[in-house]
Amino acid sequence: MATQSLVGTKNRAGQVVEDPWKMMHEAERTPCFFTGSEVIKEAIRRANCDVMIAYPITPQSEAAALIGELFAEGFIGDYFRGESEFAVMSQCAGAAFGGARVFTTTAGPGTMRAMENFPMWAGARLPIQMIVTCRGINSPLSIQPDTLEISYLLNTGMLVWHAETAQDFYDWILKGYMVSEEPDVHLPLALCCDGFFVTHTKDVVNLTPADMCLPPYDPYRSPVPCMDMECPPVRMMRDPFVMKSNYISYATHASWQQEVWAAIERSRKHAIRWLDGLIEVDRPDAEILIVSSGTAVSQGREAQALLEEDGIEVGIVKIKTLRPWPGDEIREATKKAKHIIVPEFNVTGWLAKEIRATIDDGDRVFAGPHVCGGMTMPPEVIAADLKKHLGLKSESLAGRGS
């Protein structure tokens, strides 16, 4: 392919274009102690991005500002601030229609404000990458971690991945472009993390060499024509054929929607290869499983250790991709489990509902504990809820001085 032939050449910043698989799997890694926001910057430094469009909203503002530094250093082709999140996402679409590799970041109310754009991105087959540093979305205002906004993204037609750690974040930003730009996929990616817990916490992250970068995006592999103002999807927006009231228009639109969801399915094969599976399972034979995504998995691991001290064996299933949904993998991983505990950082328990709808005997799912609005989820709470669910005695954690 065209991208392969560019391996060994230099980009605008003087970085050497590397075979992406070698870069991610074979290149020497350097451990660095960074915040999640700094990790986003370091991944984008190596992503050969053409355009980044920013708008300030906590907790992604720092990452957006740091990428501005990359622009000043020559690593990004263009960088500017939009007038609002809605404007940013529309401008991202414009840049992607023009054949650019595009990156942006948002969070909470910003995600919600820009929501109209996301099904448009997917329908137009634009492989934009958007980092979502999840936070509260409701009134009263909260800037604290909360994953409710992910549930709104699940049916936009975007790929939706949920990173647990800063290391996930670093690797998945780069791998995300490789998956989402495949011609049979070619969809936007919402790469989510739990705001503050990941963005503002320092962690050791192993980075690939800074003088290596991904091959540039090749718009000629796109499944739709690049910036042809006379053809859908561009023409679709100025003269929507779906506005015609006839069977043909409806059938076309229906087939179009199906194609977007087919592309999500096609991403499965690529995501499995790049992410080493859509889920990760620890102790698959355990009768009790903690199944979750994001930092709830990290808290689950801590709870697992606490429970082990009490002689209770617990396995962990980490869900990496929410779209594509790893239905087969979850069914297989949970087939022996008698109890499936789904801790979540949101009020509705959307992940537990998805899991319950996926597996046989959904009554095995215990949807909890739920915390939201910025609350932390101490592992002791997961352990206590799990014990209570099993009918075992546990200490009350809510009281003071008891």
């Binding site: 087959r125 495949e182 011609p183 049979d184 070619h186 592999r221 796109s222 499944p223 739709v224 024509p225 006379e230 053809c231 859908p232 023409r235 054929f241 015609k244 043909i248 228009s249 059938a251 076309t252 229906a254 087939s255 179009w256 199906q258 194609e259 969801w261 087919a262 592309a263 399915e265 096609r266 094969k269 239905g327 087969d328």
Partner: protein, 204 residues
């Protein structure tokens, strides 16, 4: 998802599903698929050639990627497609009518297209119905628009669909090749020539 779904000629349904959503997976390089099942490429070549030879109106639908000489590869592919069309025409009986109908662009056209001279991805069934096309091959059509068409064709017509795709292939076609080159198209023409006379022509 394990699959039992077969990609077969329609008319299948008021709104047939995308084959990918039914668990059909695209082939890897060197492979093809027949009815959603992964096979080696030669097997698919033979099936495609037999379909052309046994159809009443075997038709090639070249799309914008091969209708204009926007690079050297496109020009070579166009020459190969013309050769395949001529080979089919020479290999079928007088009762069969080979056709070459372009998909020049993807603009939805109203009130309707002229099905004598073109096919449009938004309503491909009109061209297929009008010309009574019972086997067709898409080539040089952008993947999104090809998939759009292939589902609509499966939904409302009995046409047997073949996709000669330059990228990863199309689950929504009954036979799909991937990584199409001029050589691959010429190879299909060779298969048609090789099977000429050995395939029973359609009955009236």
């Amino acid at each position: 998802m394990s699959t039992m779904y077969e990609v077969l000629p329609g008319p299948e349904h008021f709104l047939p599903p995308a084959a990918a959503s039914m668990g059909v997976r695209l082939p890897d390089p060197g492979q093809a698929h027949i009815h959603g099942k992964i096979v080696n490429e030669d097997e698919a070549m033979e099936v495609a050639a037999r379909q052309f030879l046994s159809a009443k109106v075997p038709t090639i639908f070249p799309g914008p990627l091969v209708l204009w000489a926007w690079n050297e590869k496109a020009a070579k592919k166009a020459t190969a497609i013309r050769h395949l069309y001529e080979t089919i025409k020479e290999s079928v009986t007088p009762s069969q009518q080979a056709m070459l109908i372009p998909m020049p662009d993807y603009r939805p056209k109203y009130p309707k297209i002229n099905p004598e001279i073109e096919i449009n991805p938004n309503h491909p069934n009109l061209t297929i119905w009008h010309n009574k096309i019972d086997a067709c091959m898409f080539v040089g059509v952008h993947c999104h628009q090809a998939n759009l068409s292939l589902k609509i064709i499966r939904g409302g017509t009995y046409c047997y669909t073949i996709a000669m795709c330059a990228q990863a292939g199309h689950e929504d076609a009954m036979v799909s090749f991937r990584d199409a080159t001029a050589d691959k198209i010429m190879k299909l023409a060779d298969w048609v020539k090789k099977l000429k006379g050995s395939v029973e022509p359609p009955k009236d």
